[in-house]
Structure formats: structure tokens, C-alpha cells
């Protein structure tokens, strides 16, 4: 000993200290045998708050909602075995949408690994295909650095979930604690700046366009580039569409916004994609629900693609000008070059292009029957939009209600629309809303859901009660798995195989039994007052059960494997 007193901490204390030093506010988790030391360490401090969910899937989704709405990484803590496997759906959800999570999974003691011990599962193996990276910590000396690396990897480049598997004995061993300020990983160097020559080419192409089109995705939100995207779009004067993941990156109420594109996108957005001559894809990945049939996709355009992940470029659609780089610096550079050139796309051609777009818009493709005696789901979303003045955080589950929310709630700000786009995880909406509400305690957080989706994580109503989370649940209850029913109607001659929700609970009583407020709304005339009343209850969770038209379908629709110009508008209004 050299006489200098050094404080040794247990792995469990180190873990919690590391989270604190990383600036973590909330950990979403559920205790169990392998993480008992860690839970004991949590008990002894007050800096990191633990949110006890009711199922580990909920923990991952809640952390995900927190991350999506703040831009900061979400943190999850679960036990070994079933704790880890239950979290996998949430991890895969975050992975598909590139959401930064750090997921700490307990593991059986190192000496027991591989022995089929109680609650043992190969967490690193199981999560490998659905994480950005994962670690198994075998020595307490590596713990602090591994946590730092996990946060670094999760939040940089194309973000994503990182799993850190920590055996129980590692959390009991002691070592000196020091948390590195930064880490450098020789095998991981994400790019930021785009190639100047490529950016120049892109600018030349954009300025020479007669029918330019901007197609932006979730990457713009993840890359905090909404302001630059807006500035650039206005500078260019081109129409812009957002993907499902990109909604809010450009203000939806702006006249240059032509709506969402893709399978349930607007007529004008899809037609503009099909007819444009220069297409700028930015922070978007040419997903199959966006592109439709690859051979028919935007056939006459020169394509520019900006993405931080090189593997996203030319994965499904070949592009002419690939730019690997973070969206924000690339957009900034594009703006600078356009301004410097003093040029703009030809005025006359652009006016002609907007005239064409106005004709497409005139189809009013999101029109629905406003005189129906039944509650139309679209109307409910419109009311939600109006009564929250477009300023709510809206989470959703997956299915028809998700599409209607995306179509009818006009998001003007990024990080307001929280949905599982890539994996399409039913059950996402409610736990995600918990994470959003914790991050934004004063904000209105609405969970737009359906009676099928909400049942998948309904247990989290209990978590909402415990932490006083006043989420407003908008349940579009059509007694069907609506999107399944829609496809069965279109493509299976109305054979509604197992899509009818028999034996539904009384949602009003259900909400009440969890200590919340429940409402059932059955008439169109009651929608407005009910929602007003619900939104007034600032400190209560209100479950609004809207009994909606069972036969309503989501339009427009492009069938899988068709082109953007082959949309269905509705049964009454097929395209010629």
C-alpha cells in the first residue's frame, strides 16, 4: 500500500454510479434474482430514479418513448432469463427505428454460465441480431468502461440499443471506481461530415431540377436536423414528404408539406415521388412500405441519398449521388452552397410542378364520410388534433389507428410522434407514453390505440397509477384487429379469420379498477365534449373508449408490390 486511501465499490454500486455520472434520470426496470445487488445499490441512492413497470417489455418501450421524445438514451434494467427475453421485443423495436437504449440485463454468476442454471439464458446470443452491439462483462474492472462504451455506441452514428449483460458475481466484486470522460473504440468510428465533392454534385442536381422532391425520414429527427431541413426546403421551394418515422421533422401545416408517403401516404405525396425528376432522400431508408415495388419506384428521377449509415445507401434502391454523413452537417453544407451560388431552381418549371401538385391535392384523398351516424376514427383524431392545438405528444400502437393518427394529426415539431414504425410492435403505445410523460411531466401525452393493441401491454395501467402519469388514452374501438380485418376484406374475400375481438373487457371498468378514469363514447356528437372533459383532467389518466365504425378502412392504399401511381383512394373513388 502506498498510503493513499482508495475507495473500492461493488460492481452494483459502480453500475449505479456510472448511470448517475452519465446523467441518467430514469431507469425503467423490474427486479429479479440476478440483479438484486443492483437493486440494493439503487435503494441506497436518490440520483437515479427507478420506474417499476409491470412487464419487462413495458420497460423497454417506456425507455424507448423517453428516448424518442427527448433525444437522450433510454435506460432499462432487467433480470436474467425471462427478464431479458421479455425485453427482447422492446429492444428489437428500438433497433428497427434506430433508438438509443442502454439495456442492462442481469446474468447468472460467471461460474454458472453455460450450466443451464436457474433463469439462465444466453442474453448476448439472443439479442445479437437486434442490437447495435452487446457486451458480457466478465470482470468488475471492465464494468465502468463498458457502460461508457455502451452509451457512446448507443448514441453516436446511427443510434441503436446496446445490451450490457452483467453476471451477478460481477455486481458483488469490488474495485476502484472511475468513470471515463470519453472512450475511443478503434473499430467504431462513425462518420459525420459528408464528402464535399458529393455534396457539390447534389447541390448542382437540386438546382437544375424541374420537378424536385424531398423525402425525409426518421434520421432527420434522430440527427436533430429539423431546423436545417425546414430552412433548406424553403430555400429550394420544393415539395416535401415525410415518412411515418419522419413526421414532425418538417411542419405538417406548412404549404410545402404534401403529407406522408408510402402505403397509406397521400395521393399528392406518392404521385410527386413518382413524377419528380430529382429526388433527395435524407435520413430515410427506402423501406418497403415506402417504396412499394422497387422497379416502379420514382422511375424518372435522379436520386440523392444522405444517410449516416453507409449500409442504408443503395440497399434496395440504387442512387445516383450517395452521401454518407450525419444529416445536420450535410444539410448545413447544402444550404451554404445554395446560398453561395445565388441560384434557385427555375421559377417557371417549379410553378408548373406546384400546379400539378395542386391538382393531385384537389383529389382530397383523406376525405371521409362526415355525416355518418357512427363515430369515424378519423374524426376522433381530428378532434384530438384540434383540442390539443397540435401540441401534444402522440404515441401509438400498430394498425389502422396508427395510420389515421399519422394522417390526421398534423405534427409541426419533431419528437412529438412516437410510434413503432419498423418493427410494428402492438403494445408499444401505452408504455412508450409513460416514458414520454415522465420526460415531459407538464405536456399532454395521448396514446392513440385500438382495442386489440392496448390489450398487449394493458398491465402498464398499473405503472401509470403508481407514478401518477396522466396519459390520455384514445382507444379507437372497432372490435376488430382493424388492419388485419382490412387486408382480409381486400385480399381474402372477407374471410375474417381470427381478427374479431370477442370477449372484450369493459374498458371503463377496467380503467377504473386500475384507479383511473374511464369513458365510453358511442355517438359522433359526444366525441368533442368527451375529449374536452378528458383533456381537462390534467392529473388523471383517462381511458377514452371510442366505439367506432367497424367497417372503416385506411385510404389511400397502395397494395404491397405495387407502384406509387397505383393507389386506391376508396371503393367509391377508384383511380381511373
Amino acid at each position: 500500500m502506498n498510503g493513499v486511501a482508495s475507495v473500492e465499490l461493488t460492481g452494483a454500486d459502480i453500475l449505479v454510479r456510472a448511470l448517475k455520472d452519465e446523467g441518467v434520470e430514469y431507469v425503467f426496470g423490474y427486479p429479479g434474482g440476478a440483479v438484486l445487488h443492483i437493486y440494493d445499490a439503487l435503494y441506497k441512492q436518490e440520483d437515479v430514479q427507478h420506474i417499476l413497470v409491470r412487464h419487462e417489455q413495458g420497460a423497454a418501450h417506456a425507455a424507448d418513448g423517453y428516448a424518442r421524445s427527448t433525444g437522450r438514451p433510454g435506460v432499462v434494467l432487467v433480470t436474467s432469463g425471462p427478464g431479458a427475453t421479455n425485453a427482447v421485443t422492446g429492444i428489437a423495436t428500438a433497433y428497427m427505428d434506430s433508438i438509443p437504449l442502454v439495456v442492462i440485463t442481469g446474468q447468472v454468476p460467471t461460474h454458472a454460465i453455460g450450466s443451464d442454471a436457474f433463469q439462465e439464458v444466453d442474453s448476448v446470443g439472443i439479442t445479437r441480431p437486434c442490437v447495435k452491439h452487446n457486451f458480457l462483462v466478465k470482470d468488475v474492472k471492465d464494468l465502468a468502461t463498458t457502460i461508457k462504451k455502451a452509451f457512446f455506441i448507443a448514441t453516436t452514428g446511427r443510434p441503436g440499443p446496446v445490451v450490457v449483460d452483467v453476471p451477478k458475481d460481477v455486481t458483488a466484486q469490488k474495485t476502484e471506481y472511475s468513470y471515463p470522460k470519453r472512450v475511443s473504440i478503434r473499430s467504431y468510428k462513425p462518420v459525420t461530415e459528408g464528402h464535399p465533392g458529393q455534396i457539390k454534385k447534389a447541390v448542382d442536381l437540386l438546382l437544375s431540377a424541374r420537378r424536385p422532391m424531398i423525402y425525409s425520414g426518421g434520421g432527420v429527427i434522430l440527427g436533430e436536423a429539423s431546423k436545417s431541413l425546414t430552412e433548406f426546403t424553403r430555400l429550394l421551394g420544393a415539395p416535401i414528404t415525410n415518412t411515418l418515422m419522419g413526421l414532425g421533422a418538417y411542419p405538417a401545416t406548412d404549404p410545402q408539406f404534401v403529407g406522408m408517403l408510402g402505403m397509406h401516404g397521400t395521393y399528392e405525396a406518392n404521385m410527386a415521388m413518382h413524377e419528380c425528376d430529382v429526388l433527395l432522400a435524407i435520413g430515410a431508408r427506402f423501406d418497403d412500405r415506402v417504396v412499394g415495388k422497387v422497379e416502379l419506384f420514382s422511375p424518372g428521377s435522379k436520386k440523392i441519398h444522405v444517410d449516416v449509415d453507409p449500409s442504408s445507401i443503395s440497399k434496395s434502391v440504387r442512387v445516383d449521388v450517395p452521401i454518407v454523413g450525419a444529416v445536420e452537417p450535410v444539410l448545413k453544407e447544402i444550404i451554404r452552397l445554395i446560398k453561395e451560388s445565388g441560384q434557385k431552381p427555375g421559377k417557371a418549371a417549379l410553378a408548373e410542378w406546384w400546379k400539378q401538385i395542386a391538382q393531385w391535392r384537389a383529389k382530397n384523398c383523406l376525405r371521409y364520410d362526415r355525416n355518418s351516424k357512427l363515430i369515424k376514427p378519423q374524426y376522433v383524431i381530428e378532434q384530438l388534433y384540434e383540442q390539443t392545438r397540435g401540441d401534444a405528444f402522440v404515441t401509438s400502437d400498430v394498425g389502422q389507428h396508427q395510420m389515421w393518427a399519422a394522417q390526421f394529426y398534423k405534427f409541426d415539431k419533431p419528437r412529438r410522434w412516437i410510434n413503432s414504425g419498423g418493427l410494428g410492435t402492438m403494445g408499444f403505445g401505452l408504455p412508450a407514453a409513460m416514458g414520454v410523460q415522465l420526460a415531459h411531466p407538464k405536456a399532454t401525452v395521448a396514446c392513440v390505440t385500438g382495442e386489440a393493441s392496448i390489450m398487449m401491454c394493458i398491465q402498464e395501467l398499473s405503472t401509470c397509477k403508481q407514478y401518477g402519469l396522466p396519459v390520455k388514452i384514445v382507444n379507437l374501438n372497432n372490435r376488430y384487429m382493424g388492419m388485419v380485418r382490412q387486408w382480409q376484406e381486400f385480399f381474402y374475400k372477407g374471410r375474417y379469420s381470427h381478427s374479431y375481438m370477442e370477449a372484450l373487457p369493459d374498458f371503463v371498468k377496467l380503467a377504473e379498477s386500475f384507479g383511473h378514469v374511464g369513458m365510453r363514447i358511442e355517438k359522433p356528437g359526444d366525441v368533442q365534449p368527451a375529449m374536452k372533459e378528458a383533456l381537462k383532467m390534467k392529473d388523471r389518466l383517462v381511458f377514452m373508449d371510442f366505439i367506432t365504425d367497424q367497417t372503416e378502412n385506411v385510404y389511400p392504399m397502395i397494395e404491397a408490390g405495387k407502384g406509387h401511381h397505383e393507389m386506391h383512394l376508396s371503393p367509391e373513388r377508384e383511380l381511373a
Partner: protein, 164 residues
């Protein structure tokens, strides 16, 4: 087209399964895969033989580069390179066949490394084609066992795949 991709990656447990998992998850094809530590024990060198269209190969190299454990990689088939594979082959060797097999091994510059009354084990190194050629030159009925290492490769000239 056939490509030989050479990869330097962190020599950590699970690194190999990340590569193998990537190939199965994305439906890419692996013809052969060899892996061993390098002179720097913290690094593993992997040689992977795959085939696909240019688009598929481009995706494969991008996806491999995306793996956090991958430090560097190189498509050897893009430039002049040398590839070698080693084969250990056990053949039935009796009566007059013994001399014939010895001659054949010599022609292919193989070595007989184990001998019994009834068998030879021959070690042979070369390109995959050469090894295939040797197998074809044998009477199928005499082959008792074939062990191939998979391809290792290196770029010609000064070009090298190295960290730092």
C-alpha cells in the same frame, strides 16, 4: 461472382458469431470461413469466401463494416492477390495403388504425412481449384476422409490489411 473478404476484428468471444449471424440473418452465402489470431493477439484475422452480385457484395462489406467488432476489411478479389487452402486427405492405399498415389501426390506437390498398411494421409496446399483437381484425379472409392481449411488470402505486393 466469388469474392474473398479479409477481415481484421477484435479477438473477443462472440466476434465470430456476429459475422456468422449476420450472414444467416441477411441470407448471404458463406463458402468458407477461416479465423485465427494475428501477431497482435488482440486482433483476429478472418478470411471469408462468399458469392453474389455486385450489389450483394457491396451490402456484405457495408454490413460487415457496421459490426462494432470489425476494425478493417478488404475485398481481396478487387486486386491481385494470393489465395491458399490446405487439405488433409486420407485415402485407401493398398498393393499397386500405393505407388500410384505416391506419384499423384508428388505431381500435386503434396506430402504424405501419415502412413499405415492400408492408408496414406496426404497434405496438400494450393488454390481451391488445385485441391478440387487432386480430388478429381483420385478414384472416388479410395477416399476415406477429406479435411479442408477453407481459403486464406493475402494481397500481392506491399498492400496490406493492418491496423494503424
Amino acid at each position: 461472382m466469388r469474392h474473398i473478404i479479409s477481415i481484421l476484428m477484435e479477438n473477443e468471444s462472440g466476434a465470430l458469431s456476429r459475422v456468422a449471424g449476420l450472414f444467416s440473418a441477411r441470407g448471404y452465402n458463406i463458402e468458407s470461413l477461416t479465423v485465427a489470431p494475428t501477431e497482435d493477439p488482440s486482433l483476429s484475422r478472418m478470411t471469408l469466401v462468399t458469392s453474389g452480385t455486385e450489389e450483394v457484395i457491396e451490402q456484405i462489406t457495408k454490413q460487415l463494416n457496421k459490426l462494432v467488432d470489425v476494425v478493417k476489411l478488404m475485398d481481396l478479389t478487387e486486386g491481385p492477390h494470393i489465395e491458399r487452402e490446405m487439405m488433409l486427405i486420407k485415402v485407401r492405399a493398398v498393393d499397386a495403388g500405393r505407388d500410384e498415389l505416391k506419384r499423384l501426390a508428388d505431381i500435386f506437390r503434396g506430402h504424405i504425412i501419415d502412413v499405415t498398411d492400408t492408408s496414406y494421409t496426404i497434405e496438400l496446399t494450393g488454390t481451391g481449384e488445385k485441391l478440387d483437381g487432386f480430388i478429381q484425379a483420385l478414384d472416388k472409392k479410395t477416399i476415406l476422409e477429406v479435411v479442408r481449411s477453407g481459403v486464406s488470402g493475402i494481397a500481392r505486393g506491399e498492400k496490406s490489411l493492418k491496423v494503424g
